[in-house]
């Protein structure tokens, strides 16, 4: 166990003897199934769950020769922005002590930032790779929806999430992406893209002639120190031959509520499987009531508060009389965000924004107010709604020593573009 609590289970898994990742130690978020090694999702519900099979990305890591260092701590079922909702305790930020590492893949980013792993896999449903990468001063990539197989990923919100790499440098993150990307017959949402990828080769730092669009909505309301670091990074890219222009994307005003509506609705359905019968803590078979009471008791005991909050809000949104008001409007907003991004990407190679509008929170700061925590995801969630790829790259630190990340968003399956631009900075 590390002193910053990055791992839930530090049990190494050896890979093949040779391969592109033969000398790399790779940490894996604990919602990705590892055969024979427990996979908890940061939840008491799965405290002793041991998957009988490997996720596709784990098979690919094994074949590539990677040594898996263990399973990293995370917000329970990926629901959080701080890695404080884990049933296994919060994670410290090794790059900024006293602050949160970001979430929900906070353990993965922390072990990379601390040097206890060379690379890591996280998952990004609404920013859960990019946020902790930004807060811990490392690189994180959220791939295009459909680039990386989700087979063996314990689902939170299927239509939004992707597994993505975290590493100290862009080229390393791209090398890990090269290994995990590509079609998988066990995930029908994967595409042919990525089969013969060469993302690492795109990390050449050549941004001469690159046009960068800056959505003004993603700077409004951002912390001053963060905005300052953001423009300093844009200046640096300009000095290397890139150009930028500002662009208005009005749909982004509604991205946070649309994202949470859709994610919570999908979660309420996905997490229905945790009933204490096939896995999880035992149900009380001598209960007076019927099986619904038994299930409700297991779910009360096994789920933490943030998970219950999201299941309930999702159930509410999908209940009779509310679907049109919330869920369908959220789908309209999703389509609108997607169109806005597509239009903006006709005039730009990539779009740029601060990854997070704020520096990492002090530990404990946001927990009592869930809405404040949700609003911190304003810059990352639009990318998931639009199914696009994005990378978070370190952009220096605030005067108080807190890491800041800059995010580059590319067109669908445009991973090479975001890797190239990111590699000009890190």
């Amino acid at each position: 166990m590390s002193e910053y609590n990055g791992y839930i289970t530090a049990e190494p898994i050896a890979g093949a003897e040779a391969g592109p990742l033969a000398s790399e130690r790779v940490a894996v978020k604990d919602n990705i199934s590892t055969a024979g090694v427990r996979t908890t999702c940061g939840s008491a519900m799965l405290e002793s769950y041991v998957p009988p099979y490997d996720a596709t990305v784990i098979e690919r890591l094994n074949e590539a020769g990677a040594t898996i260092t263990g399973k990293t701590n995370m917000d329970e079922f990926g629901m959080g922005t701080t890695t404080e909702t884990s049933a296994f305790g919060p994670v410290e930020n090794p790059a900024a002590l006293g602050r949160v590492p970001g979430g929900s893949s906070g353990g993965s980013a922390a072990v990379v930032a601390a040097g206890d792993a060379d690379m890591a896999l996280g998952t990004d449903t609404g920013g859960s790779v990019r946020c902790p990468a930004a807060f811990c001063g490392v690189v994180g990539i959220k791939p295009t929806y459909g680039l990386v197989s989700r087979h063996g990923l314990v689902a939170y919100a299927n239509s939004l999430e992707q597994i993505g790499p975290i590493a100290p440098a862009v080229e390393d993150a791209a090398r890990l992406l090269d290994v995990i990307a590509g079609p998988d017959e066990r995930d029908a949402t994967t595409r042919e893209a990525g089969a013969e990828s060469a993302y690492a080769a795109a990390a050449d730092g050549d941004v001469a002639g690159t046009e960068i669009g800056v959505p003004t909505q993603l700077l409004e309301g951002a912390d001053e120190a963060v905005v300052e670091r953001f423009w300093a990074a844009i200046d640096e890219l300009e000095a290397q031959g890139a150009d930028y222009h500002e662009v208005e994307l009005p749909s982004l005003e509604h991205a946070v509520e649309a994202y949470y509506m859709i994610a919570m609705s999908e979660a309420s359905s996905n997490l229905a499987r945790f009933d204490g019968v096939r896995y999880g803590p035992a149900t009380e078979s001598d209960s007076e009531g019927d099986w619904n009471d038994a299930f409700a008791a297991v779910r009360e005991a096994g789920f933490g508060e943030e998970v219950k909050r999201r299941i309930l809000l999702g159930t509410y949104a999908l209940s009779a009389g509310y679907q049109d008001k919330y869920y369908r409007k959220a789908q309209d907003a999703r389509a609108w965000v997607k169109r806005d991004f597509d239009e903006a990407l006709k005039e730009a190679d990539v779009l740029a924004s601060p990854t997070m509008p704020v520096p990492p929170f002090e530990r404990g700061e946001s927990l009592s107010d869930p809405l404040t925590m949700y609003l911190a995801d304003a810059n990352t969630v639009p990318v998931n709604l639009a199914n696009l790829p994005a990378i978070s790259v370190p952009a220096g630190e605030t005067d108080a020593g807190a890491p800041v990340g800059i995010q580059f968003i590319g067109p669908a399956f445009g991973e090479e573009q975001i890797v190239r631009v990111g590699s000009a900075l890190a």
Partner: protein
């Protein structure tokens, strides 16, 4: 459900009803805390009203492959995480 679709904040009884639908038992303290938080969150979600109707035509393609039988999990593997089993089956709580 007692509230209509235009209703404002939820009350603790409604939160408990939703929890029942979701098969999650809640303590009184939790129900009260959630009632307060849901008021804030749902008020914020109301801004979805401002979103125009949007026709989206997602690009969908059929993904087909031959339906060849492959090895799956064994019965033993499928049962290995169950808290209770009997004669090779999952054992659940009584129906009523």
């Amino acid at each position: 459900m007692s509230a209509d679709a235009d209703g404002d904040a939820v009350d603790p009884e409604e939160v408990k009803y939703i929890a029942e639908l979701a098969r999650v038992q809640l303590s009184d303290a939790e129900a009260e805390r959630f009632t307060e938080q849901f008021a804030d969150i749902l008020t914020y979600f109301e801004t979805l009203d401002e979103v125009p109707d949007f026709e989206s035509e997602p690009e969908l393609t059929n993904v087909m492959r031959p339906d060849d039988p492959e090895e799956g999990l064994s019965q033993e593997e499928a049962l290995q995480n169950a808290p209770a089993t009997e004669d090779g089956y999952f054992k659940g709580p009584p129906v009523s």
